[in-house]
C-alpha cells in the first residue's frame, strides 16, 4: 500500500517538473521564469525524493533521500532570490507587460 503512495507521489512530482520546464520556455522575462522554476521544480523534485523514501523505507537510500529533500527545500529559494537580485543589479529590464516596478526605481535612486 505505502509503495503505491510512493509511486503516486513520484508521478505528481514528474508532472510538476514538466510544468516548471514549460514555464521557463513560455514566460516572457527572467523574473517570471524564476517564479516558475523556484516553485515547480522544488516541489516536483521534493515529491520524487519523498516518494523514493516511502518506497525504500528506513534504509540507507531512504534516509539519504530525506536529507536531500531537506537540503533542496532550504537552498532552492535562496538561490532563486540571489539570481533575481543579480539579474536586477546587472541591468536586465522587466518585460513590457510589467505594471509597476518599485524595486527598479529604488535602485536607481540609491545609485
Amino acid at each position: 500500500m505505502i509503495e503505491h503512495i510512493g509511486y503516486a507521489l513520484i508521478l505528481v512530482g514528474l508532472f510538476f517538473d514538466f510544468f516548471g520546464c514549460l514555464g521557463i520556455i513560455r514566460l516572457p522575462d527572467v523574473y517570471n521564469r524564476l517564479q516558475a522554476s523556484a516553485k515547480c521544480i522544488t516541489l516536483g523534485t521534493c515529491g520524487i525524493l519523498f516518494g523514493l523514501f516511502l518506497i525504500k523505507g528506513f534504509t540507507a537510500t531512504g534516509i539519504k533521500a530525506l536529507l536531500c529533500l531537506l537540503f533542496i527545500i532550504l537552498t532552492a529559494p535562496v538561490s532563486a532570490h540571489a539570481l533575481a537580485r543579480g539579474a536586477y543589479r546587472s541591468g536586465v529590464k522587466p518585460c513590457p507587460e510589467t505594471v509597476v516596478d518599485e524595486y527598479g526605481e529604488d535602485i536607481k535612486n540609491i545609485k
Partner: protein, 164 residues
C-alpha cells in the same frame, strides 16, 4: 556554550543519518567530525537566540511547516494554470512590503516562504528600513500597489512566535 553543544549534536545526527547502518566505527568518526566542524564554524551561527528557552516555539514551527506545505501546493497549481493557459494571464511587477521581523534567521525563513507561495518571489531585503521587495506574477487592477499580501501577514505572525 550550550549553542555549541546543540550544534555538534546536530552535526553528529546528520553524519549518522548519512552513513545509515549505524556501527561503532561510524559513530567514532562522527564524533571527531562533529567536534571539528563545530570548532570551525560555530561563530557563524551566533544569533543569540537560545533554542531551549521556550519549548512552545517547536509546536509553532510544526504549524508553520503545515501552512507552508499547503501554500506550496497551491502555488504550484497556480503556476501550472498560468503556464498552460494559451493567453498567459500575467501582469507582473515588483512591490515593496514592510516587515516587523528583526532577526536574520526569521527574515531568511520569511523570504523563503514568500518565494514558495502563490505568485510571489522575494527579490531583495532591505534590513535597515525593514522592507522586502517582492516580485508578483499577477497584480489585480483594484488593488492599491503597496497593499499588504495576506500570505505575508500570516507567515509573519507565525514566524514571530517561532524566532523572536
Amino acid at each position: 556554550m550550550i549553542l555549541k553543544i546543540i550544534l555538534s549534536l546536530l552535526w553528529f545526527a546528520i553524519w549518522m543519518l548519512l552513513s545509515w547502518p549505524p556501527t561503532i566505527t561510524n559513530a567514532l568518526a562522527g564524533i571527531a567530525v562533529a567536534a571539528f566542524v563545530t570548532f570551525m564554524t560555530s561563530d557563524m551561527f551566533d544569533s543569540g537566540a537560545n533554542p531551549l528557552r521556550k519549548p512552545s516555539r517547536y509546536l509553532w514551527f510544526v504549524w508553520y511547516a503545515a501552512v507552508f506545505l499547503w501554500e506550496c501546493v497551491k502555488a504550484n497549481l497556480d503556476v501550472a494554470y498560468r503556464v498552460i493557459h494559451p493567453d498567459l494571464p500575467i501582469r507582473p511587477g515588483t512591490v515593496k512590503i514592510k516587515t516587523a521581523l528583526k532577526s536574520d534567521i526569521g527574515l531568511t525563513f520569511l523570504a523563503n516562504s514568500i518565494t514558495l507561495t502563490p505568485g510571489t518571489t522575494t527579490v531583495d531585503i532591505d534590513k535597515e528600513r525593514g522592507l522586502i521587495y517582492v516580485h508578483r506574477m499577477y497584480i489585480k487592477d483594484g488593488l492599491a500597489i503597496s497593499d499588504r499580501l495576506p500570505v505575508v501577514d500570516r507567515f509573519e505572525k507565525i514566524l514571530r512566535k517561532v524566532f523572536e
